[in-house]
């Protein structure tokens, strides 16, 4: 099969695709959902964000320099770290560093394995491979890190008396939080493990679909998808593990006490911001 034989989407085709927006808007209007404004904003953002990314990626691909690729990965990691922090229901202070470090750790380990050992991309920084794969690794690491820390926070709040009883008996923070750690890690890893159970049966994954459309043979696309599934599971596990141990250092003090942030919740951020002045 000829890889360049797939159908290109012209600007006119894109405008025609706006018909879908019309359908969405009609449903909203008809049923009085009041979502018209959000639909309009969402449409514009989809256009602007994706066209910008397309443009940036094209420049990145043309330049094909290792330092531009590394810079792009660093930006992706930082934005993901910020997002994982933003998704926390409790206090956020100190968690940006934890999240970014966790996502970076998971990213580096998984990318080295996938790019260097499984796919053996030469040169390693070939953007065509590194960027999309890193996107999936970083995206899933972000979800895993955000999920694990959120759950850890609520487990500690829920099990507060058990945790303090353990501390009072001489346990370290890690020992006292063992049950909460286990529960949070399970919760963070379950979604990727569940998706490994149903992949291909219910829905064809986006990457595989994309490859097939752009001309790859289904068996080839499937192999990529298998690598991606396993890689995503590993990335989630490493990110969740790193994030939750980082959070342990944030939710407990060095003297093995529960931090007041657990009691104060979101209000802790405002409180510490004020205390600095």
């Amino acid at each position: 099969m000829n890889a360049s034989a797939y159908i290109h989407i012209s600007l006119i085709d894109l405008l025609i695709a706006l018909l879908f927006v019309g359908v969405t808007a009609i449903v909203s209007y008809w049923q009085g959902l009041g979502l018209e404004r959000d639909i309009a904003v969402g449409t514009v953002r989809t256009f602007v964000q994706l066209l910008t990314v397309g443009f940036v990626l094209q420049r990145l691909f043309d330049a094909s320099r290792w330092y531009w690729v590394v810079a792009a990965l660093a930006i992706m990691t930082t934005v993901a770290g910020y997002n994982a922090m933003k998704r926390q229901s409790g206090a956020k202070q100190g968690l940006f560093a934890v999240m970014t470090a966790a996502i970076a750790t998971a990213g580096v380990i998984t990318l080295i394995l996938v790019i260097g050992v499984v796919l053996r991309v030469r040169p390693w920084y070939q953007p065509q491979y590194v960027i999309p794969i890193a996107g999936m690794v970083i995206g899933n690491s972000m979800t895993g890190a955000a999920l694990v820390v959120n759950r850890f926070h609520s487990e500690l709040t829920l099990r507060r008396s058990e945790v303090e009883a353990s501390l009072a008996l001489g346990a370290t923070a890690r020992e006292a939080a063992a049950g909460a750690l286990r529960e949070s890690l399970r919760a963070a890893m379950m979604p990727t493990i569940n998706s490994m159970m149903t992949v291909g049966l219910v829905q064809l994954p986006g990457m595989m679909t994309g490859q097939i459309i752009s001309g790859a043979s289904p068996p080839d696309a499937v192999r990529y998808q298998v690598v991606v599934m396993l890689m995503v599971a590993a990335a989630t596990a490493v990110a969740a593990m790193t994030a939750v141990f980082g959070a342990l250092g944030v939710f407990f003090t060095p003297a093995q006490q529960l931090s007041p942030r657990l009691e104060l919740g979101r209000r802790f951020d405002a409180y510490t911001a004020r205390a600095k002045h």
């Binding site: 008396s161 303090e164 049950g179 006490q257």
Partner: protein, 266 residues
């Protein structure tokens, strides 16, 4: 009151010069963030409190709710730290001790029995297990007069009174030098509470254990306390032998407190 009888036969003298202080608080103050409505306010919960607990005594730390009794107790095993001042355990500043060692030496029991997931045996041997030491949990159930058959039951299957005694056994398994009890009888019915009060007296007598018990229940303070410290709004109002305090407080505030006029401060 039958509980009063338990006070007899103990001969620890407060004024004995050889009596070293087991726990000593020196100008301890604490401010901490407290949620008030929707905002967080820095509140002075303990204000310049000093007192000492001689070895082998039972100190009843009393006061209206919100007076800072629990915070003070929690600072003695460093579940919280003072903002200023210091706390000594047998003449050593507790902040210079390894915190895990401090907590092993100072056992803590909470108001509602805090269970660790697992059986009664898992709970009782939790402390020694952390340090990879052998422990016969049955021995400690004997001490708190719980049947050994309970060992392999889940801790949740016990009655609240039994759970509280299990928590005391769990603290004892660490072979502590002092025991901190935070309202240990408040969640119990009268019979279960009396059993626990009895137990506290016996442990103090037989093991020479120094005890600090926080309580807002005056009959319970009177039943076990040899010493009393009265805390109101974070400040120490009275300190002295329990019998003198209950016979007639030295201060007007102390008198009003005993008459139940200060019960709902803050």
């Amino acid at each position: 009151m039958p509980a009063n009888a338990m006070n007899e036969g103990r001969s620890v003298s407060v004024n004995d010069p050889k009596c070293t202080a087991a726990v000593e608080l020196i100008h301890v103050s604490k401010t901490k963030p407290v949620v008030l409505g929707d905002s967080v306010t820095q509140l002075q919960v303990i204000e310049d409190v000093s007192f000492s607990v001689p070895k082998g005594e039972i100190l009843a730390l009393v006061g209206p709710s919100g007076s800072g009794k629990s915070t003070l107790l929690r600072m003695i095993n460093r579940l919280e730290d003072p903002t200023s001042g210091r706390i000594n355990l047998f003449e050593t500043n507790i902040s210079s001790l390894d915190v895990r060692e401090l907590r092993r030496r100072v056992g803590m029991v909470f108001q509602t029995p805090a269970l660790i997931a697992g059986t009664v045996a898992d709970n009782v041997s939790y402390g020694p297990r952390l340090r990879r030491e052998d422990c016969d949990p049955g021995e400690y159930l004997d001490l708190v007069q719980l049947e050994r058959d309970l060992l392999h039951r889940p801790a949740t299957a016990l009655s609240v009174g039994q759970q509280q005694r299990m928590c005391i056994a769990r603290a004892l398994a660490n072979r502590p030098e002092a025991l901190l009890l935070d309202e240990p009888t408040s969640a119990l019915d009268q019979t279960a509470a009396n059993t626990v009060l009895d137990l506290i007296c016996r442990l103090n007598r037989e093991l020479g254990l120094t005890v600090i018990m926080v309580t807002h229940l005056m009959e319970h303070a009177r039943a076990v306390g040899t010493q009393v410290v009265l805390l109101v709004r974070g400040a120490k109002i009275e300190e002295g032998p329990a019998d003198a305090f209950f016979r007639g407080p030295a201060t007007e505030i102390g008198r009003r407190f005993l008459q139940g006029e200060l019960s709902n401060e803050r």
